[in-house]
Amino acid sequence: MPTTTASLTISSADLTSSPINISATTNLTEAGTGIGLQSTSGLARRETESVTPYVLYRSDDYADDKSHKVYLKNLSPISSEYFTVYLTGDRATGAHDATDQSITGLTEVGRLYAGDFAFIPWNSASGTKEAFTVTVANTWAAGDTFAFDGVTVVAVNSTVANVASQINNAYYPNWTTSVATAVVTFTSRTSRADLEIDTTEAVTTTAGDGTGAVATTVTGTKSLSDIYIKPSVATTMTLESMLIYQAV
């Protein structure tokens, strides 16, 4: 079991009339246990030359409701340069909009100015992944096709269960699949609220009356806690980061 220790000291001789010395140390453990966190992204650096926000850590990639920890540091040597740290959210209020930092759809945590670091607990709350079914029915023939997500499946015979199996066995860039007899269930690889698939996207082309009816079974929602980073300037800035996380 790994042991990872995080310590913080904050000290000042003159911020208040008495010296301040705050000290905290913790062993990073999995949620609700004494078992040490076992996974890490490694210490990473990312250089940017744009003020466009980017996703640093996506909740879908990590287990929900755990005790993940995120380290961030702004390596810029220029005191006016900062990274704004955001979480997914809809908390861009009017007051928030009064600053130049607000982005509708994201929630500002705060700014890391040059040299600043942060150590942040991260809940990693995913959203819901859109799901729909394709029901292979009626009369199919070899050569009929099903096309979706840039992938075209060509039926090798007329058995609907076999066609469904073929559809299931294909690899879709943005979807995973499972199959039960002649019904294939597609599940989005990421949590998104903007997906609504119908037969204009999942296209069945058959010579006879074969069909591939599409029905939404789960309506997707966006992730609730992706971590976004927005550099303050379009000149080179470097963010150092590390995620120490619980795999399951």
Binding site: T3, T4, T5, A6, S7, L8, T9, I10, S11, S12, A13, D14, L15, T16, I20, I22, A24, T26, N27, L28, A31, G32, T33, G36, S39, T40, L43, K66, S67, H68, K69, Y71, K73, S79, S80, V85, L87, G89, R91, A95, T99, Q101, T107, E108, V109, G110, R111, Y113, G115, D116, F117, A118, F119, I120, P121, W122, N123, S225, M242, I244
Partner: protein
């Protein structure tokens, strides 16, 4: 001008195949300059007799939302392993969980309250804010 220094150390001999030690030190300054942060709430220590839901520990109304580099420190000072504190921004924007002994040190924009939700009775917590005055 006050000088406040924060030092972070992270080390592990076995979380990867190579021992890892990192120490980072930052002098806490106002936004965009080298002038030190000039306000501090002190460290508040609380024991919650009952489980809390969205209890405000940092009220945004008293902090500048203009260019600012406030910092929030929170620690779960409870014992055991399971009684976590859920740290949120106002509006149920969940930041993360602090299990007993865990601490956090985050930048704070001053735009939303910082809140905590607890799941047990007797949870203890300490927290404080280092900030720059609105007049800065």
């Amino acid at each position: 001008m006050a000088t406040t220094t924060a030092t972070f150390t992270l080390n592990s001999s076995d979380v990867t195949g190579h021992p890892f030690t990192m120490t980072q030190t930052a002098t806490l300054t106002k936004a965009g300059g080298s002038t030190g942060l000039d306000e501090f709430t002190g460290i508040t220590s609380r024991t919650y007799a009952a489980a809390q839901t969205d209890t405000v520990i940092v009220a945004d109304s008293i902090y500048s939302v203009a260019a600012s580099s406030h910092k929030v420190y929170v620690r779960n000072t409870s014992t055991g392993t399971s009684d976590y504190i859920l740290v949120e921004l106002e509006g149920n924007v969940i930041i993360g969980r602090l299990y007993p002994g865990d601490w956090m040190f985050i930048p704070y924009g001053g735009t939303l309250d910082v809140q905590v939700t607890t799941i047990a009775t007797g949870v203890t917590i300490e927290y404080g804010v280092f900030s720059q005055s609105a007049a800065s």
